[in-house]
């Protein structure tokens, strides 16, 4: 029975959560809905793990939706790169759910919980779909499924703070503009090639060569995805959305949404447009890299001055996206590997951090720095988890953040630019400042009188610690992540082989 499902894994990855999503609302009972959501997320995780396991040797799984052969039908194409992304997304997806069940109790009415799970699963579906599909227009559709669900998820925070509504609204406007830009780019590509299959696109584009249309298409796609992944200065939606969304949603989004958008950008940059398009090279060298560097500094400095920990972490996320883009903009396989490994490492770290902050919010009702005085004494476990995540953000050895920094600096030194390496470390030193602000408040200030020594419930602590453990484990033994990342980089890079294989089918 199970073995007969194996060839269908790529589509099951997406369809299972899609089917389960409406079920949550139809069933009407929030406990049952949670169970469905959890089982679904767990199934998605198992599927992604199986997929990752079967493509890590460099092979590619091509699944033809409805039996229509590509390039006419829609193809789901799993290689090391997107299997890795699928794995990250579904891992976070399954870890956040038990946490969410507890944390949303305080955040909005029980009657709306079923809707929450539906949105959550839809968002998961969209993100998984974006990563799994090999069809350019399909990317747009799934992107919008996940985005629409995300806007709704952010708006769930309105019960606690009505600013969540405006945050969701602004996110909607910006996100839709981004998605529409992306569609325009796809339209241009279709115009010159007559195909939407990514592998096929790569072959045809190589024939078409460097024309004005392809250049414009590339720029539209870059800007569209730049909006979705919060590339500086297109990041304006992010701080408010992360700040006012329910804790579980923030953790989930921070760890997955921007990462998937980045994956799309990488896929288009390295697989669809082949790497030697001059406009692409110039754009990365003279636009993306400077912007990434500015993001690393501007957003980090902005983080230093935030009074709310959630907002602080949101700005830090923008800076971290800068690191990933920087790795990519080095335009070398080492740089790409560094970008991808940071994609995973940052997902784990930021997920853990936002979950820990969620525990604070659950227990003391605030994430403002002024309210967290002495929290290290009243909630020692949560604070310890937060500090572990913070150390990873700084890039202290034995955490995943260190591995990322190592690869990034190594990649920048290999391309011979010592000054970029210098900037990377300089900006990570700003991280020391903002992390240590919190550490000092948490440990060295006395707790306000009358606050009980009470930890968050176990259902919230455990997922937090699962991510913290992951961020430590992969910091001590990066064998798995680094081989997966370099395999993914190779998969993205070997565009020509992939394209010729695609054409043969």
């Amino acid at each position: 029975m199970l073995s007969s499902l194996t060839p269908h894994l790529p589509v099951l990855q997406v369809v299972v959560p899609l089917m389960a999503a409406p079920l949550c609302t139809l069933i009407g009972n929030r406990h049952l809905a949670w169970t469905i959501a959890f089982i679904t997320a767990l199934a998605a995780f198992v599927v992604s793990a199986l997929l990752l396991g079967s493509v890590l040797d460099g092979s590619v799984i091509s699944y033809h939706l409805g039996g229509w052969a590509p390039p006419w039908g829609i193809e789901y194409r799993i290689d090391a790169a997107n299997a890795f992304v699928l794995f990250i997304v579904s891992l976070i997806g399954v870890l956040v759910l038990p946490y969410a069940r507890q944390s949303i109790e305080h955040e909005f009415e029980a009657s709306t919980h079923t809707y929450f799970y539906t949105c959550y699963l839809l968002c998961l579906t969209g993100l998984l779909g974006v990563a799994a599909t090999g069809d350019a227009f399909n990317v747009f559709v799934f992107l919008e499924i996940s985005s629409l669900a995300t806007y709704a998820l952010v708006a769930f925070g309105a019960r606690r703070d009505k600013r969540a509504l405006t945050a969701a609204y602004n996110y909607l406007i910006m996100g839709t503009i981004g998605a529409t830009f992306f569609v325009i780019g796809i339209g241009f590509l279709y115009m010159v090639t007559g195909t939407l299959n990514m592998a096929d696109l790569a072959v045809r584009l190589a024939e078409v060569g460097d024309t004005r249309v392809t250049r414009v298409a590339f720029v539209f796609i870059l800007v569209g995805m730049g909006l979705k992944l919060a590339m500086f200065p297109l990041h304006l939606w992010l701080p408010n959305a992360y700040n006012y969304a329910p804790s579980a949603v923030t953790a989930f989004l921070a760890a997955t949404a921007t990462k998937v958008a980045l994956y799309v950008l990488l896929r288009f940059t390295f697989t669809v447009f082949q790497f030697d398009f001059p406009v692409q090279e110039l754009t990365f060298e003279y636009v993306v890299m400077p912007l990434a560097l500015v993001a690393m500094f501007a957003a980090s400095i902005a983080a230093v001055f935030q009074q709310d920990v959630k907002r602080l972490l949101a700005y830090s996320s923008i800076a971290q996206v800068g690191y990933m883009l920087l790795g990519v903009a080095l335009l070398s396989e080492a740089g790409l590997t560094a970008g991808i490994i940071h994609l995973f490492n940052h997902a784990v770290t930021k997920g853990a951090l936002f979950l820990a902050v969620g525990c604070f919010v659950y227990q003391i009702g605030s994430s403002r720095l002024g309210d967290l005085k002495g929290i290290g004494k009243t909630m020692p476990w949560t604070t310890a988890a937060f500090v572990a995540g913070g150390l990873s953000l700084i890039g202290v050895p034995l955490t995943v953040g260190f591995i990322s920094k190592w690869y990034l600096i190594q990649a920048s030194l290999q391309t011979g630019s010592l000054w970029i390496a210098g900037l990377i470390v300089a900006s990570s030193l700003i991280a020391v400042v903002y992390v240590w602000r919190i550490v000092e408040v948490a440990y060295l200030e006395p707790a306000p009188e009358g606050r009980a020594n009470k930890e968050a419930p176990l259902a919230m602590i455990l997922p937090t610690y699962a991510l913290v453990a992951a961020s430590l484990y992969f910091g001590i033994n990066s064998e798995l992540t680094s081989s997966a990342a370099s395999q993914a980089a190779t998969a993205l890079y070997s565009a020509t082989d992939l394209a010729s294989e695609g054409a043969a089918q």
């Binding site: 747009f140 919008e144 309105a158 609204y169 406007i173 998605a179 529409t180 325009i184 339209g187 309210d371």
Partner: protein, 136 residues
């Protein structure tokens, strides 16, 4: 490259010019209007311009609707972009619906749908939060 800029170039690509004009109007409305509903209207214009881009690109001069007939030489328009846009329209409608729903909720909580007034209320909220911390 300016050699290409003949009258024929302008007229021959009039569908694209229309798209560009519509797109710019849409974007301008989104950016310049302070009324949240008007922003959604702008967003719709913007999206529609893209729909038109796709649809006009599929049109073949003298082509009919893509319906199977007995005549194998029948010239017909490319159906694929039309189908794609059908999907995109659905997405657009969903976006609009969600946007409007959010506006209703915003109206309920903020008593206004003007961006600058909302901004002021939010500033006030931020200030109150800071001062309440100071009291402690």
């Amino acid at each position: 490259m300016w050699d290409e800029m003949t009258a024929e170039f302008f007229v021959g690509h009039y569908n694209y010019w229309m798209t560009v004009v519509l797109m710019m109007i849409g974007l301008y409305v989104v950016v310049s209007r302070g009324n949240l509903v008007k922003k959604i209207v702008g967003l719709n214009l913007f999206q529609t311009s893209v729909f038109m881009l796709y649809i006009s690109m599929a049109k073949i001069l003298g082509g009919t609707a893509p319906i199977l007939t007995d005549n194998p030489d029948e010239v017909y328009s490319n159906p694929l972009p039309h189908v794609l846009i059908l999907t995109a329209i659905v997405v657009g409608v969903a976006t609009t619906a969600l946007g409007l729903a959010l506006i209703i909720r915003i109206r309920e909580s903020f008593d206004t749908i003007e961006e600058d007034e909302i901004f002021e209320i939010e500033q006030q909220m931020a200030k109150n939060a800071t001062s309440s911390v100071g009291d402690r």
